[in-house]
Amino acid sequence: MSSTVSDNHKSAQQKVVLIGRPNSGKSLLFNQLTGLQQKVANFPGVTVELKSGKMKDLTIVDFPGTYSLHSFSQDEQVAVDAIYKALDSDETSLIVCVLDASRLERSLVFGLQIQALAKKHNKGFVFVINMIDDALRFGHEIDVQGLSAELGSPVFALSAKTLIGLSEFQQALPDLVEQQTCTPQNVSENHDEVITQSRHLAYKYGMNANVVLKQQNKIDQFLLHNWLGGIAFMAIMFLLFQSIFTWATPLMDAVESGIGILATFVSGALPEGVINDFLNDAIFGGVGSFLVFVPQIMVLTFIIGLLEDSGYLARAALICHKPLSFFGLSGRSFIPYLSGHACAIPAIMAARTIESPRKRLITMMTIPLMSCSARLPVYALLIAVFIPQTQYLGGLVNTQGMVFFGLYMTGIMTALIVSFVMDKMHFADGDKSEMPFILELPSYRLPHWKPLMYRVFNSAKYFIRRAAPVIFMVAVGIWFLGYFPIHEGGLENSYLGHIGHFIEPLFEPLGVDWRYGVAILMSFLAREVFVGTLGTLFGIEGADENIAGLAANIQNDGLTFGAGMGLLIFYVIALQCVATVATIKAETGSQKIAWGLVVGYGALAYLMAFIVNSIF
């Protein structure tokens, strides 16, 4: 057989492609092979983009997990298209299909489909049975040679988690890429035949599934119990939001005092004047006051990652399916909603896993109401100003955490109400292709700490990189407008003061003065800008005050309780994020929907803030 990937390609980059079903431990295998610590997806749709890394002179590409070549939802279509593209590419020299040792039959159906394709495209092909430690734990050893003979392709058994068999596979990889001998011989393309064959092979070589399931069922009996499961679900969610506040506090204090020390040091070293003022007000006051909230984002990402990797998220989706259907959503809307609390952008993309186009659209349109991490700085600041820190139950519950929880709940309730209204108004009803709900519940697993920590640090890096330039520019711009023309009347008579007084009537009904008005307007770029802008403004006003103590500054400034609560509600509802608007536009393909949401949620937020301010 002549190989298309011939000698002249040897020196060029040769690609090894990893393909497998979701939850087959594919991403962890990828991490172990390349040493690149990437995110391990434990739920369909989480791995959306292709990741690649190097192993010696080979390029390893990790593909999104797919159940089948017959795509069902949009994110599967993306993955399937990518697989076909890779098969057509000359650079691809080897396809590695990852199977799950504890679920051999299911993974073989997809594996055999891929094998047939690889043969058609004349590519090298090898099976990897991952998570062999699961099988060994239950005393089952897989006859690799026998299976390999029947499949007509090499088979490796390994565990990406415990590293059994991994080095053997790594050593064999370069040879497998070189030789084309692993091109499969006898494969069937008939759908029913594939299913029969994988059943036969799984029966002969696979492990008795009952043992694995027994342990899983025991946990499920509790976590999926009619009311115990519900209580557990509520408890987990409550602890999640509490911990954002309690666990992150020491870290936040550390960042805050770090910035304070740095600011004191820098301003002490520089002579007094415009430059010193600029660094103090715009950089430390503006940009610095937002860095304080990065630890909270990390804690939130950590807990969501923990739930996802342990296998609980799929259960949560199941528990939520019936309640969410009442509001016109699907159980699958739960995962985008939850990750929307970290950031709306990946959440909107994760909504691709929702099979029903209509429910997907409603989910995407309501995700911006989830309190994302960009709101955290605003919430945290205003809560610190107005809510005293009182602890109960040995620090497990505190009043500030309770208010936080309340704000998150307000966002979720608003989203549900909006969904319900859209559903009842037969929004996008033209899309009749309703797809039913089907979801695999993965086995419970102990999360692997390395990829989880990588993910946590990545979220912080991503957040800073995305927000910092905007905040920096706004802080500099605001500072410039607020600082000049130099002094006499102070901030009131600066350029910014004039602009602010011009727009003040718009914000008067909300009970806030022009400085907050400017901050609100600026935060339509990104919410966290609110804190940076206020930090800069108060920095200009009170030259001798402690820079990091923005909350204390606002407290002394005498913002009323009602106005503060109104601001909080405003930030719960308003869609203030340029990146989210762009993502919604890209995913829905509709400019009208994207900007309609900005206007609609903006008006609703203004109205609610007005009502709250009038009541208190």
Partner: protein, 89 residues
Amino acid sequence: MKIVLICGQLIMLQNTVWELPTKKSAKIVGLQNGLSVAMSNRLKEMGFCDGETISCLKQCPFNGPKVVELGGAILSIDKEIAQNIKIKM
């Protein structure tokens, strides 16, 4: 199997997974005819094939999804799907 008399005609209603009580098992005997090709292919790939044993682990309250065990995997399916899978108890 239920036999129902409607408008003077005898109609036999096949049992489906939706009628499978919790903690009971049954053999799958096929999928309903009205299903789309994509849907029935997917169901087969997920393991809903003739002769497979399916057990119901849980029925969520208020006609919520069913949790079933099938071919070593645990799946959750809603009413629409469950009613399309024919079983023999």
